[in-house]
């Protein structure tokens, strides 16, 4: 049996158990990704998309089940100790960067995911040069602003920086949580384009949550639809190529979402 890049086995998570507000967010969810898979996660609000990403990143411990990354059981491993394998870009650009620190310092933090912090000098000239090259690929001019505080950047610039930070060090698993949803259309397109180039070039195993059906059709190798805390359908290959926005929307269970998503 080949080793899966990600294997979520019967993951279960219940919020507010035993109360009137009880909500089963993950209902024995199973999902596995091969190395190099690019899964697009869709599903209505409350389907369990964010809970699943939180379970994979370690931000939320699951009640039962298992999470394996490259064959290693990380179910009980804390966020900071999973960081070596998992990188994540959040919807909120404020969440992925340290605002009061400089661009170069933020890049260094990302680099330290792979190599634990030492007592050596952090920002060496060699590192600054490397960060300049990495940032230049974005073509946003960030490479000339290494000593600028991140709080002075726009949302799009911050999100682009978050992306570069996430893909640096080639994580085993890249989690994108609606990472372009908070951006204006033009900036969103730039960030999405940079995402696709990075994922392709580095052959990263990726999970991307989106509410944009067109993106689900255009990008990725798999469409994974969640509903009520389970994988409802998993569309790959030729079947994926034949998907339309309408065919995807029709699969959503909640009528109220049709108007939102069909638009």
């Amino acid at each position: 049996m080949t080793q899966q890049a990600l294997d979520v086995k019967a993951a279960r998570k219940t919020f507010f158990p035993g109360t009137a507000d009880e909500k089963i967010a993950l209902n024995d969810l199973n999902l596995s990704l091969d190395a190099g898979d690019f899964g697009i996660i869709i599903g209505s609000n409350g389907a369990g998309k964010s809970t699943m990403l939180n379970a994979i990143s370690g931000a939320l411990p699951i009640d039962s089940g298992q999470v394996l990354i490259n064959g290693t059981d990380v179910t009980r491993t804390s966020v900071d100790r999973r960081a070596k394998h998992v990188a994540r870009v959040f919807q909120d650009p404020m969440k992925g960067t340290a605002a009061s620190m400089t661009i170069a310092e933020n890049m260094l933090l990302a680099e330290m995911r792979q190599s634990p912090a030492t007592l050596r000098k952090g920002l060496t000239k060699a590192r600054r040069d490397k960060y300049r090259d990495l940032l230049a690929q974005l073509r946003l001019g960030l490479e000339d602003r290494l000593e600028t505080q991140v709080s002075l950047l726009s949302g799009g610039q911050r999100q682009s920086l978050s992306l570069v930070m996430a893909v640096s060090g080639e994580p085993d698993l890249l989690l994108l949580d609606e990472h372009t949803a908070a951006l204006d259309p033009r900036t969103a397109a730039i960030v999405l384009d940079a995402t696709m180039r990075a994922v392709e070039a580095l052959k990263l195993t990726t999970l991307m949550v989106t509410h944009n059906m067109q993106h689900a059709i255009d990008y990725g190798t798999r469409i994974i639809m969640l509903d009520a805390g389970q994988v409802k359908s998993d569309i790959t290959g030729a079947a994926k190529a034949q998907c339309t926005v309408q065919s995807l929307v029709d699969q959503f269970s909640h009528k109220s979402d049709h108007m939102l998503l069909g638009a």
Partner: protein, 303 residues
């Protein structure tokens, strides 16, 4: 003219005092500015450092080692505050108040009584080999060397990989965790470090004044906060170098202001209100200046 002469005659005393206070200001600044962990523990770790130092000196421990023991005790006090916050989700300020309150009893236990004279013991200030005519100059040089050493060391530390990781935890704890940094380790290390600096301040003060007192910490926190606010107004707080310079500059400026008040005839009992007014002015100043403009962005601290 009398006011000026009096003020100038006070400068050597206040300079020595301010160098010692700068350690406590550092102990307020590091958790507050670098870790976003507003902390009141220094009100307790400062006298703790003093008490431990005095007891150690009386037991025949050499002055420098006594200071190291004080630092270790202060570090432990900071660790307790940090763990109370991290483990039990208790607000940082409340955690600090709890530890400070408990430390009062600890300090009395350590000393065995409320006041411990150490006039006859060897002091760290005795190391200075030359007679400069006044003991104040010796104190200024020894305490100044300590301050300089710590300032340089901290500037280097906060530029190492670990130091940068520690700053990241204060800037964005969730993001730091996602980059593989342990929020627990960084917070415990940082708040502990602050406790150690407050205790070193207490140890230097006890060796300077020749006795240790359980009540010596009373109000030290607000003095340190006033000094920090003044320091930040003077040198800024944007870069790490500015952040680290502010405590030293601020402590100096604060004591000069206090000494000016005294020279001008203000009774010592009114100094608390003067200090309070300084803090208020420093905090209210930026708000008043932009009163007509848009409101300042709220600073966020850990709950």
């Amino acid at each position: 003219m009398d006011v000026l002469n009096l003020f100038l005659s006070l400068v050597p005393v206040t300079l020595a005092q301010s160098l010692i206070l700068s350690f406590v200001v550092l102990a307020v600044m590091i958790p507050f500015r670098i870790l976003s962990f507003p902390d009141l523990t220094s009100e307790g770790s400062y006298p703790l450092g003093g008490c431990v130092c005095a007891v150690a000196l009386l037991a025949g421990v050499p002055p420098l080692l006594a200071l190291a023991l004080a630092a270790a005790a202060g570090f432990l006090a900071g660790v307790v505050t940090a763990v109370i916050h991290l483990r039990f989700r208790i607000h940082t300020l409340l955690a600090g108040i709890l530890v400070t309150t408990m430390l009062y009893s600890v300090n009395l236990r350590v000393m065995g009584k409320a006041n411990l004279p150490i006039f006859g013991e060897a002091k760290i200030y005795d190391f200075f080999p030359f007679d400069l005519g006044s003991v104040n100059y010796t104190k200024i040089i020894i305490a100044g060397l300590f301050a300089l050493f710590v300032f340089v060391l901290l500037n280097l530390w906060f530029r190492t990989e670990r130091g940068i990781a520690m700053r990241a935890v204060g800037s964005n704890p969730d993001m730091s965790e996602a980059q593989g940094i342990s929020v627990w380790k960084a917070t415990i290390g940082g708040v502990g470090m602050a406790g150690a600096f407050a205790a070193i301040g207490g140890g230097l003060m006890v060796q300077s004044q020749g006795f240790s007192d359980a009540n010596m910490g009373l109000g030290i926190l607000i003095n340190a906060l006033a000094a920090l606010m003044i320091g930040e107004a003077l040198v800024g707080k944007r870069t790490i170098t500015q952040m680290l310079a502010a405590p030293f500059v601020g402590a100096f400026a604060y004591y000069q202001l206090i000494s000016l008040c005294l020279a001008a005839g203000l009774p010592p009992s009114d100094l608390k209100i003067a200090t309070g007014v300084f803090v208020l002015l420093m905090l209210a100043g930026p708000e008043l200046r932009r009163a007509k403009g848009p409101r300042a962005a709220q600073e966020s601290f850990r709950e």
